[in-house]
Subunit: 346 residues, 2 copies
């Protein structure tokens, strides 16, 4: 065990675009676990767009207060228990938690979940079989309610959530159409994930391309980005279309609230728009894991990880995430993965 | 019976604002009812904002084709049967129908409903106990799902739909806040209809005024207008607010699709926006009439009519409606009301 912990602190609340100087990497003593506690060594840190919101002043939209300046950035983690006086999590256990942007964390065990590397690679607990996967599952199935033969469109289609949405849509008998920001992502989405089509919003005129990819219109638009893609999708919605509103990444760095889409098609087509957040739907975690874990094992639900090595690269990787520079679920490898040789990766 | 029918035809499809010249008043022979048919004499013609949409080219959003140029403008009517060979609707029957902008209409009887003037003034079948009332009932209760103690905001609050929404909200134990376009309308809404507050969007800075009127935020926003009022309401929504989207009158005359509201609050607060149209909910007509008719009779559900005399004034009255110039349910009195002396009016 190293003697020093490394932590990334929130140094400034960004106005607009986050900059590297908004974060600070510090070295601190590794904490000593108290009675009933465990010491976790971070293996993987998940980087997700929602973290931009957690850098703001005040209350987060999950209800708690956002981190104070000078404290460790929040984030989901997969860790190894390296010291324990909690029998539920013995030394050597691999655990999912929310230990944040740091190499070591002390924990009472509350909120930790043990991972079995024989079931799936442990990193998937932060992606396809984790919060992003559950987000896709709940948003598409419970809110989008796709019926066989319908057309499902998803933005940020190569991302951690979008890639699952489109594959679930296919598994449920729908036509799946993605929107993504590069030719490589579009090719991946169609050729490797099996989407029916994918539109490159950076090179194609969006509405005609989307219209061509959706000859029968759009029944479900799973929105991760807002902005122009939402506006174009709204112009193509069918009667009683459903729009699970999962993210608005196109405007997270905006300093003024941007205008939204024209809502006339919502009225005319009796569309449902439902903003949601996965934290409200944790009761579906069991169903999600039961249904999706076998699909991941069988290769019917595929995923891709974009693993950045080293905690010190987390700020830069996170800033890139907000611009779509990642390709697949963005993870930071903070420490060695003891299971990596033993499990297959995508 | 007069020998001539009078009809208002759609002459031009307006681009933007409708003008009087888009309509034409013509005199034609009174039609002769055939076997099994009835001849209806129009007493009241309802003027409603949805008619702007029916002046467009193509398909209406209720599914049928919009009227061709040169044909009679569509509209709900209350009529007297003046000749009949249909035993279901004998001479002298008072009927609700959709006979359009004309003084006489021939009908097979399909779609007609007999009205009993002892139950309520027959004109109410076009307003508080008609399509606007059902719209308010379904939109507020079925889609808005207000719970006692919640705050319900409605735009166009003095109008045919809005006035019912706010009163139903009060009857269901909610705080009711209106938005309207004149001091007289605001005073009417608060003093006569019993809303808790009403904001004059033409004279008060909208967001601060609405914030003051809704100290506990907005749980249900019943939207009839879109535009600035919707944008302001969205900035004040509570967690899991519901927005039945009933109308977007602020943009019906727009020639370019205007931008919509920023949707970040929809995401953050997990808001539901549900576009709807009353024609999808006719199964609730019986419940609506059973619940609301006694309230109207007891004066607990009040209404106001803005009656314009003479079919020839319908175009001008309709153009004014799109600017909020009416005060209460806008009706055109096309012919004499034989029940008017016998029933009380609001």
């Amino acid at each position: 065990m190293q003697n020093l912990n490394r932590q990334v602190l929130l140094r400034n609340r960004p106005r607009g675009e986050p900059r590297p100087a908004d974060f600070e990497l510090v070295e601190t003593p590794v904490p000593a676990p108290g009675q009933g506690e465990v010491l976790c060594r971070t293996i993987y840190l998940s980087l997700d767009p929602y973290m931009r919101g957690r850098m703001e002043e005040g209350r987060s939209y999950t209800g708690g207060m956002n981190p104070a300046l000078g404290t460790v950035m929040v984030g989901g983690t997969v860790s190894e228990v390296v010291a324990s006086s909690n029998p539920a999590f013995p030394e050597g256990a691999l655990v999912l938690g929310a230990n944040g942007w740091q190499a070591y964390a002390r924990s009472s065990g509350a909120g930790l979940r043990t991972l079995d590397p024989r079931v799936a690679p442990i990193s998937t607990a932060l992606g396809v079989l984790g919060m992003p996967g559950l987000t896709a599952y709940v948003g598409l199935l419970d809110l989008g309610r796709p019926r066989p033969g319908e057309t499902v469109v998803v933005s940020a289609a190569a991302g951690a959530v979008g890639s699952v949405v489109g594959q679930l849509a296919r598994l449920k008998g729908c036509r799946a159409v993605g929107v993504a920001g590069s030719e490589a992502k579009c090719a991946y989405v169609v050729e490797e994930l099996g989407f029916d089509a994918c539109v490159n919003y950076k090179t194609e005129p969006l509405e005609p391309a989307l219209r061509k990819a959706c000859p029968a219109g759009i029944d479900v638009y799973f929105d991760n980005v807002g902005g122009d893609v939402l506006a174009a999708a709204l112009r193509l919605v069918n009667l009683r279309a459903r729009i699970p509103l999962c993210g608005l990444i196109s405007q997270y760095n905006a300093t003024e609230p941007p205008a939204g889409p024209n809502l006339r098609p919502v009225l005319v087509n009796r569309v449902l728009i439902q903003g949601f957040i996965v934290a409200d739907h944790l009761d579906r975690l069991g169903d999600f894991l039961r249904e999706c874990t076998p699909w991941v094992r069988e290769g019917r639900l595929r995923y891709r990880e974009d693993v950045v090595a080293g905690l010190e690269r987390a700020p830069e990787a996170f800033i890139g995430l907000l611009h779509g520079r990642n390709f697949g679920k963005l993870l930071v490898q903070v420490g060695e993965d003891p299971t990596r040789a033993a499990t297959s990766t995508a």
